[in-house]
């Protein structure tokens, strides 16, 4: 039976002092000398249907996703387009129209507008709806978010045309819990505040199952489930304070998190307990003010924060952030990075397929190249597992810190925690389970730490 520290090391949970990405894995897709494409390529534009939240409270995540896609498309078009010939055109669609309207819109994009590809989706309610539709439309799709495990666990267990580029939802709760186990193993009691919908439940479930394994003495003393997109968290804060926990774990994000932390500050919550979040700093980096307390375990959807990997150690990120900031006057979040990477992943797949077959590769050839691809993007290496078409990269989380360079808190560069996602989510071959495969895998295969 390993000790907690040994097990964390086995999982690959490391605190990296400055962008220590795992080295030495064979990588494809890093910028290579532009080879001329083989065969004749049509110069018809390549049309991508991009659906995300442009209105409504979800727009805080949706707009950056579109911007990432746009930035990548412009870079590719500056070189003539895909394979130097096909320029990318993006057709926008508003995800806020509702699942029913989104289904019709996807069909319209494919059958009427004849888009070549589909990208986007923020809400976890929409990927399980649209995944099967994309499959039936034979529409090559890369979902950028809508990270629910439900998509590949139940809705489309054997995907052919659909892929997802950002980390799977179960990673959030697990990453947060592992971060807590590593940093504050002494806690005895903790409290929950989660938005009352699938993401909140998922974080709750996975945080609980991992904490049960890693910190068997710790127990939950309070739960609160505010409605998603609430603005008043005072009762939930009061309830949490009354329970006097050692730690608060919360998956509030976006505007919810901003309202929450400001209210919590005035209630003195941060002084009374440790706080761990799954998406605190991840949705809109610049919306968090410098009044945000330091030392909060701040999740970024287990995906990406623009300060990591940092500086010259990982030029891909530095370039991406600079270009994004110059064009949009804001810093990219994980959605932006996900969309940007996904677009370049597509480009790489197309190029590789072309080198093998010549001419414009058909969807099967592109799919063949996407499966199993390992791509180096701004956020690090991302691997697309061939069986479930899910993207895996290192999960990261860290601690909020105020630095002079930025007018908002960032992740403390000296205390970044990275975890290879493949080590904390269900592996290939593991049977699908409830509530998620990862949950049953952790529950059944991880060792139970002693106190």
């Amino acid at each position: 039976m390993p000790t907690r520290r040994e097990f964390l090391a086995q999982l690959g949970v490391t605190t990296a002092a400055v962008g220590g990405a795992a080295a030495g894995i064979g990588v494809s897709g890093i910028a290579q000398a532009q080879e001329k494409p083989k065969g004749t390529i049509p110069d018809k534009p390549f049309r991508i249907g991009h659906m995300t939240f442009f209105t409504g409270a979800g727009a805080v995540l949706g707009e950056p996703m579109y911007k990432g896609n746009l930035l990548a498309a412009e870079e590719i078009n500056a070189q003539g387009g895909l394979l130097g010939k096909r320029k990318i055109e993006i057709l926008k669609a508003d995800e806020a129209a509702g699942t029913d309207a989104n289904t019709k819109e996807m069909r319209r994009l494919r059958l009427s507008e004849k888009v070549d590809m589909f990208m986007g989706i923020t809400s976890s309610g929409n990927t399980p709806a649209l995944g099967p539709i994309a499959e039936e439309l034979k529409l090559l799709t890369i979902f950028i978010d809508g990270c629910t495990d439900f998509l590949f666990d139940k809705a489309v267990p054997n995907p052919r045309y659909i892929f997802r580029s950002t980390n799977i939802q179960s990673a959030d709760g697990s990453t947060c819990a592992l971060g807590v186990a590593m940093t504050w193993p002494e806690i005895k009691t903790y409290a929950h505040i989660h938005p009352d919908y699938a993401y909140g439940r998922n974080c709750y479930d996975h945080f609980t199952v991992v904490t049960k394994k890693m910190l068997p003495k710790a127990k939950s003393v309070s739960e609160a489930w505010p409605k998603l997109f609430s603005t008043d968290f005072t009762p939930h804060i009061t309830k949490t304070l009354a329970a006097k926990p050692d730690l608060l774990v919360t998956s509030l994000w976006g505007g919810d998190y901003v309202a929450f932390y400001k209210q919590a500050l005035q209630h003195g919550l941060f002084g009374k307990m440790k706080v761990a979040t799954t998406l605190g700093l991840g949705s809109v980096p610049q919306a968090i003010g410098k009044d945000h307390p330091e030392g909060v375990l701040s999740g970024v959807h287990a995906n990406y924060h623009f300060t990591y990997p940092a500086g010259n150690r990982w030029p891909l990120n530095k370039n991406f952030v600079e270009k994004y900031k110059a064009k949009f006057d804001e810093y990219p979040n994980f959605q932006a990075e996900g969309a940007y990477t996904a677009t370049h992943v597509l480009k790489t797949a197309v190029e590789k397929a072309n080198r093998l077959t010549g001419g414009w590769p058909d969807d099967d050839a592109i799919i063949g190249q996407l499966e199993g691809m390992m791509y180096a993007g701004p956020g690090g290496y991302v691997y697309i597992r061939p069986d479930n078409h899910q993207g895996y990269k290192d999960a990261i989380t860290g601690f909020s810190k105020n630095v002079p360079e930025y007018p908002f808190p960032i992740l403390d560069p000296n205390r970044i925690i990275t975890i290879p996602i493949r080590n904390v989510t269900a592996p290939p071959g593991w049977p699908k389970g409830e509530p998620t495969s990862t949950y049953t895998w952790i529950d059944q295969t991880w060792p139970q730490m002693k106190a």
């Binding site: 209105t55 509702g98 019709k104 819109e105 009427s112 309610g125 709806a129 099967p132």
Partner: protein
């Protein structure tokens, strides 16, 4: 409430209906071969919604009760199908329809019993509140309903004929399923036609026009309203059941009150003073919303603007306005 008696349908001879109904029916039958698959699927959606709005309008146009909570019955039908798949592994579309009818009957009777005691604004608000209760339950009990993720419904068997796995789902939707919907739609239209032309339908209208007088001639107002509510809800429940296989998924969205608002919109768009108004309204709104969503990020403002203009300028809706124009044109021709 001002009365605009539905005189037109009473005086219409069967022959006049045939003039426009037959070509339309023919068009609907050959549609999959005449237009592209996307338009066909869109019409399928439109026909499904037409059944829902037809049911809704029994309450609004014929009984004078504006329900702002019809999303509840639509959702009950849809979730009934999803539960049948989840718990009983049912695959037959016919059983789905039966299940939806049973479920929506139960819920409609329960809700209707409470609602028909009131009229006008209180009726509307109560229907809205009750539909929100259902919405919050569907959202909350995620173990049963899948919460915001929803529940999946695979391709059903139509009349016992299995759609082989892997066969082109688009073709299934545009051919097999489209005709299935068309048949059910025709049946529903026929049933509703009979209902509103029956003595029961007449009684509803007299209650709508003058409640006190209707009471004085011996009509039991609440009983009639309750039955109307029941028929209305069941129609909408059937629509919900038909709708689910088109998307393959049901989510709490369809129980949320703005969806009820859309149903009202559809009835007003087509013209709620006419029998065919709801049908036209549903098909046109469906097309309109899809077009708006595809055209602009501000699709909501576009739809809102259409609604406001509609209510100001064309209160009788599309069908009502066409009838007015037609009557005016004929009037001029005879001068």
């Amino acid at each position: 409430m001002t009365t605009v008696p539905l005189t037109t349908f009473q005086k219409r001879s069967p022959l006049r209906v045939v003039v426009w109904a037959v070509p339309l029916a023919l068009l609907l039958v050959v549609l999959p071969w005449a237009v592209d698959p996307y338009q066909t699927i869109l019409v399928a959606y439109g026909l499904v919604m037409a059944i829902a709005v037809l049911g809704f309008n029994l309450l609004l146009g014929y009984t004078g009760l504006l329900s702002f909570g019809h999303s509840a019955y639509f959702g009950v039908g849809a979730y009934a199908v999803a539960f049948m798949v989840k718990y009983f592994h049912v695959e037959s579309m016919e059983l789905f329809l039966v299940g939806a009818v049973v479920a929506s009957t139960l819920v409609t009777v329960l809700f209707g019993y409470a609602c028909v005691r009131y009229t006008r604004i209180f009726f509307s608000i109560l229907t809205l509140a009750l539909s929100q209760v259902l919405w919050s339950l569907a959202y909350k009990f995620y173990g049963v309903t899948g919460g915001s993720d929803g529940l999946r419904v695979p391709t059903p068997k139509l009349l016992g004929i299995v759609n082989p796995v892997g066969e082109d789902k688009i073709r299934f939707l545009t051919h097999g399923y489209y005709y299935y919907v068309l048949v059910v739609f025709t049946l529903c239209v026929a049933v509703m036609w009979l209902v509103v032309h029956s003595p029961f339908g007449m009684a509803l209208q007299s209650i709508r026009d003058n409640e006190t007088r209707a009471q004085f001639i011996g009509l039991r107002i609440r009983a009639y309203r309750l039955v109307a509510f029941l028929v209305s809800g069941v129609f909408t429940g059937i629509a919900g059941a038909l709708w689910v296989p088109l998307n393959g998924l049901t989510t709490p969205d369809i129980l949320y009150w703005p969806f009820s608002g859309e149903i009202v919109f559809m009835a007003v768009l087509g013209g709620f003073r006419n029998f065919t108004g709801p049908i036209v309204g549903a098909v046109v709104f469906n097309w309109l919303k899809t077009y708006a969503v595809g055209a602009t990020v501000y699709w909501q403002a576009l739809l809102g603007f259409v609604l406001v203009v509609l209510v100001m300028v064309l209160p009788t809706g599309i069908v009502g306005s066409i009838k007015l124009l037609w009557a005016r044109a004929r009037g001029r021709a005879f001068r």
